[in-house]
């Protein structure tokens, strides 16, 4: 199956700092999503972004499909941004998501 690698695995930030999370994948994909898993375990959809750039408030994401990577930017981080961020990809006709191992973010006040 497709390999999905996320970096860094762990990230500690001071509140107000900016960060970039990376997702590399080993094959062409037709779907890529970023999720935030909050401390209660819920998976919150952040972006559906198989290609291009999107922004939602302090968060933005860019996927360069031809180079097989995606980036999630968090600006002016807040303690509520803490949690695990997952990238997940779907390969055409495979009808399932492959998740990365996640980036665990801890934003300190």
């Amino acid at each position: 199956g497709i390999q999905v690698e996320q970096s860094p695995p762990d990230l500690i930030l001071q509140e107000g700092a900016n960060s970039t999370l990376r997702c590399n994948f080993s094959d062409s994909v037709n779907n890529l999503q970023w999720f935030h898993q909050n401390p209660w375990g819920q998976l919150i959809n952040l972006f559906y972004i198989p290609s291009g750039t999107k922004q939602n408030g302090r968060l933005s994401a860019t996927t360069v499909a031809t180079e097989r990577y995606s980036l999630l930017y968090i600006s002016s981080s807040q303690t509520t941004d803490s949690g695990v961020y997952f990238c997940a990809v779907e390969v055409w006709n495979f009808n399932k998501f492959y998740f990365g191992s996640g980036t665990k973010l801890n934003v300190k006040p």
Binding site: F35, F97, G102
Partner: protein, 112 residues
């Protein structure tokens, strides 16, 4: 915004018992999924379901597991004879294939 609803949010069961996890997908979605996440690990695919039948399943999804769409709104995952290692967060998701997946809030299953 439409949501995928999962019940219960937390279930504790005795080893060897059967459990049924319930999901209400988004109403106009046609593709349904179950995923599982063992504590501290990545989210793993279990099964996909389309047109009233399983379209794909992982090697985890053995005879212990089954899925059903008993009516027009519910989608269930049944786990027979639960084992300690079945303890995990189980996520239901639905999709209409154009705009990505929507995941439910999960059911935390604890087998004791």
């Amino acid at each position: 915004e439409p949501e995928v609803t999962q019940t219960p949010s937390h279930q504790v069961t005795q080893m060897g018992q059967e459990v049924i996890l319930r999901c209400v997908p988004i109403s106009n979605h046609l593709y349904f999924y179950w995923y599982r996440q063992i504590l501290g690990q990545k989210v793993e695919f279990l099964v996909s379901f389309y047109n009233n039948e399983i379209s794909e399943k992982s090697e985890i999804f053995d005879d212990q597991f089954s899925v059903e769409r008993p009516d027009g709104s519910n989608f269930t995952l049944k786990i027979r004879s639960t084992k300690l290692e079945d303890s995990a967060m189980y996520f239901c998701a639905s999709s209409e294939r154009l705009y990505g997946y929507t995941f439910g809030s999960g059911t935390r299953l604890t087998v004791v």
